[in-house]
């Protein structure tokens, strides 16, 4: 059991245009003790960011209308403190320079490894806590 010790759970926003992915991610992170918010479009994600103090954003890269990278850039304006993670299927180029400029913590592959995903999120939130 790795239940959270803090009374206030960390808020994680997951963005993907594919509802099944959101469902699977929620399943994977079920026992991590986060409060999980989901958005199926970047626009919806931006709306949620306006309303909620989000600790971590995990976004898909390839989405209609706006790329994950762009969404993270906008998210950084609204919630500079939130950790930013990108999931990519490697079918499209993601410029490393932009990733670094945006301070994206990690690039996760799709399909992802459950253990690695959980570890990466914990690390990102831990680093956030220190920083």
């Amino acid at each position: 059991m790795s239940a959270p010790s803090t009374p206030q759970p960390r808020v994680v926003l997951v963005v993907d245009d594919e509802a099944r992915i959101l469902s699977a991610l929620r399943r994977t992170l079920r026992r991590e003790g986060y409060e999980i918010l989901t958005a199926e479009t970047p626009a919806e994600a931006l709306r949620i960011l306006e309303e909620r103090a989000v600790d971590l954003i995990l976004s898909d890269q390839k989405m209609p209308g706006m790329s994950g990278l762009e969404l993270l850039a906008r998210a950084a304006e609204r919630r500079p403190a939130a950790a930013r993670l990108l999931i990519t299927g490697w079918t499209e180029e993601v410029p490393q320079r932009e990733l670094e400029a945006l301070g994206v913590r990690a690039l996760l592959p799709k399909p992802w490894d459950d253990g690695e995903l959980k570890r990466t999120l914990r690390q990102a939130l831990g680093a956030w806590r220190q920083g």
Binding site: D17, E18, R20, I21, S23, A24, L25, R27, T28, R30, K62, M63, P64, G65, M66, S67, E70, I87, G89, W90, T91, E92, K110, P111, W112, D114
Partner: protein
């Protein structure tokens, strides 16, 4: 002509003259003026004038005295005075009336006519001689050759103006000079002119040589030199005709011949000339190389060029029907049996009058080009498939992603359920033993674990995860099916195929990559099956669809929104027309003419090979069709592919010149 006064009986005279025969025409006149006019007009052989005309007779005699036909005077009575007077006045004879008058007059007349005719004939010969002399002078003066007449000692008797001009010697200065002094030394020696003259002096035939020397103008000139003995007196005629220009032209023709021969032999194309029977009359070195044989002359082209089927018998058709082909493709069979693709142009060969002589064929070995084409086609196919694969991979990645994650989760759920099952087993065993205390404890443990693992949620979510994974795997199966459909058959031969099916399977597979941003409209018409290379057509459609998608993406930018792609097919006459339209960024007018050029691209490096549309162009061309584009910058583009049902491939003759 008989001249007698009016009222006078001229009959005896006329009767006497009639004795001369019917061929003698008798013309009676009655005065001197008329007589003279007729006589001077010519055609009158004799004038018989009656003394009875008196002064008129004298005028006739006077008028014809110096020239004209002879005049015979007839007198009523013979007297010496009368005769003497007549002779003095120029009469040719005088005949007096007597018993013998008709006989005497006839004899006199005949004699006078004979004489007069002899005189006249001599005059004509003299005139002809004079004409000939004049003609000779004109020829000698005007002939474009230098003439010199030499005496037996070799001294110049005379030269013509051309001689003077050519060797810069005035005619009078040439007179009496030895030839050696008049002609340049090199000219004399080059042809041994002196020897030539000596030889000519000994025989009657013409001696000819070509002599060369530097003329007075300093230019090297060539002369055709001929010498001939003129008569028995040892005089010689030397003719020097300037053939410098002729030789220059002959050399120029020879040079031109060598020049063209050189070009033809070193041409990078093979050239064959055949006669009407199809026998080779000329072949250059490249033709020998491509046909793989030497000494082609006299061979029938049928040994290499196909004569059947008719569509391939290009050279034969040029010979028989006079049609031309340009850049047609054919296959020849080499002597060693090897088949070689060639590009050939054939044209009938006609002479200046337009009558057929045979045919000319120019051809190139296409095997390297064909190989290159195959490579380019393959490279382009790989590039398009690469783009497609990226789109398809993304579409497979999503379901793969959640199925993968779900499986991990389901494994965890299974573990939870196994622990629950263990406790359920313990409960069952306790119940079997019948100890209520242990049963209660086992039930409590089960309930505690069920609550701990959130068993209700696990069971519900397990089912949900299975459902979602099933759905995901179904999606993957569908994509793979599309892919298989798309790449189902790739026959190297033309096959009767359904163009709608080709377009639809391509649109479906490309759709997987563009469904987020594009609405795809399909309008398929009723089409007959088309003899084609289906995989190649799919490649054309794929390129057009990927381009349409990219045009929309470029226009959309980060703002999002949806574009529209419309694919349509229809039958138009003897063609099948496929259109692919988009409402993307469009093509600037300045690029419209270049988009089908190989390597022309406006995409970023790595995004396009620049061969996509040029490959489409050549594929459509291979099907005997055409590809057209209409575009409005900012509004979109429409590509139209027209494919003839008759198919193409077989070369069609082009209209004559």
């Amino acid at each position: 002509m008989v001249a007698s006064p009016p009222g006078h009986d001229a009959e005896p005279t006329l009767a006497a003259l009639r004795r001369l025969g019917r061929e003698m025409e008798l013309v009676p006149v009655q005065d001197a003026a008329r007589c003279l006019a007729e006589a001077r007009n010519g055609g009158v052989d004799l004038v018989v004038a009656d003394r009875a005309l008196g002064a008129e007779t004298d005028r006739i005699l006077e008028g014809l005295r110096s020239e004209g036909p002879p005049v015979v005077v007839v007198a009523g009575e013979a007297s010496d005075e009368v005769a003497l007077d007549a002779f003095r006045r120029g009469a040719a004879d005088c005949v007096a009336a007597s018993d013998d008058f008709p006989r005497v007059l006839a004899i006199v007349a005949l004699e006078q006519i004979r004489r007069w005719r002899a005189v006249r004939e001599r005059g004509a010969v003299e005139r002809r001689l004079r004409t000939l002399e004049r003609l000779n002078d004109v020829i000698v003066e005007a002939i474009p050759a230098a003439l010199a007449v030499l005496d037996a000692e070799g001294h110049v008797v005379g030269v013509n103006p051309e001689f003077s001009r050519a060797f810069d010697v005035p005619p009078e200065a040439a007179q009496g000079q030895p030839l050696e002094r008049l002609l340049p030394q090199d000219l004399l020696e080059s042809a041994g002119l002196i020897g030539l003259l000596a030889k000519a002096a000994l025989q009657r035939s013409v001696e000819a040589r070509v002599a060369r020397g530097v003329g007075p103008d300093g230019e090297l000139r060539a002369f055709d030199a001929r010498a001939r003995r003129l008569g028995e007196d040892g005089r010689l005629l030397l003719v020097l005709a300037d053939v410098t220009e002729r030789e220059r032209l002959a050399k120029r023709i020879a040079d031109l011949q060598r020049y063209t021969e050189n070009i033809i032999q070193n041409l990078n194309s093979a050239l064959l000339v055949v006669d009407l029977e199809g026998r080779i009359t000329f072949a250059n070195a490249m033709a020998e190389r491509i046909l793989g044989a030497t000494r082609l002359r006299g061979h029938s082209v049928g040994e290499w060029f196909p004569s059947t089927p008719r569509e391939s018998a290009l050279l034969l058709r040029t010979l028989e029907e006079g049609v031309r082909f340009r850049g047609a493709e054919a296959t020849i069979t080499r002597a060693d049996g090897q088949l070689l693709p060639i590009g050939v142009s054939c044209a009938p060969l006609v002479d200046a009058d337009g009558s057929k002589l045979g045919a000319v064929a120019v051809f190139q070995d296409l095997s390297e080009i064909k190989e290159l084409q195959r490579h380019v086609l393959q490279a382009e196919k790989m590039a398009s498939i690469g783009q497609l694969a990226a789109g398809v991979a993304h579409e497979i990645n999503n379901p793969m992603g959640f199925i993968h994650a779900n499986l991990f989760q389901m494994a965890e759920y299974l573990q939870d359920l196994r622990r629950l099952w263990d406790r359920a087993e313990a409960l069952r065993r306790a119940a079997g033993e019948g100890d209520p205390e242990r049963v209660r404890a086992a039930a409590a443990a089960l309930a505690e674990l069920a609550s701990e693992v959130d068993a209700d949620y696990v069971l519900a979510d397990f089912a949900k995860a299975v459902r979602e994974s099933q759905e995901g795997s179904e999606r993957i199966r569908h994509i793979v099916q599309d892919l298989r459909h798309f790449s189902r058959h790739d026959p190297s031969e033309r096959t009767l195929s359904d163009v709608n099916e080709c377009l639809d399977s391509t649109a479906n597979i490309v759709w997987t990559m563009m469904k987020h941003s594009v609405v795809l409209e399909k309008h398929y018409g009723q089409l007959p099956r088309l003899r084609c290379y289906p995989m190649q057509l799919k490649q054309v459609f794929m390129n057009l669809l990927v381009n349409a998608y990219q045009a929309i993406e470029e226009k959309r930018g980060p703002q999002g929104g949806h574009g529209r792609v419309r694919v349509a097919t229809q039958r138009r006459g003897d063609t099948v027309v496929v259109t692919v339209s988009d409402d993307g960024i469009g093509i600037p007018p300045e690029n419209l003419s270049r988009i089908f050029d190989p390597f022309f691209t406006t995409k970023e490096v790595g995004m396009g090979t620049g061969l996509g549309l040029s490959t489409c162009f050549s594929i459509v061309e291979r099907h005997g069709g055409a590809i057209r584009v209409e575009s409005q910058p900012g509004a979109g583009s429409t590509f139209e592919v027209v494919l003839p049902l008759a198919g193409g491939e077989e070369p069609r003759p082009e209209p004559g010149p």
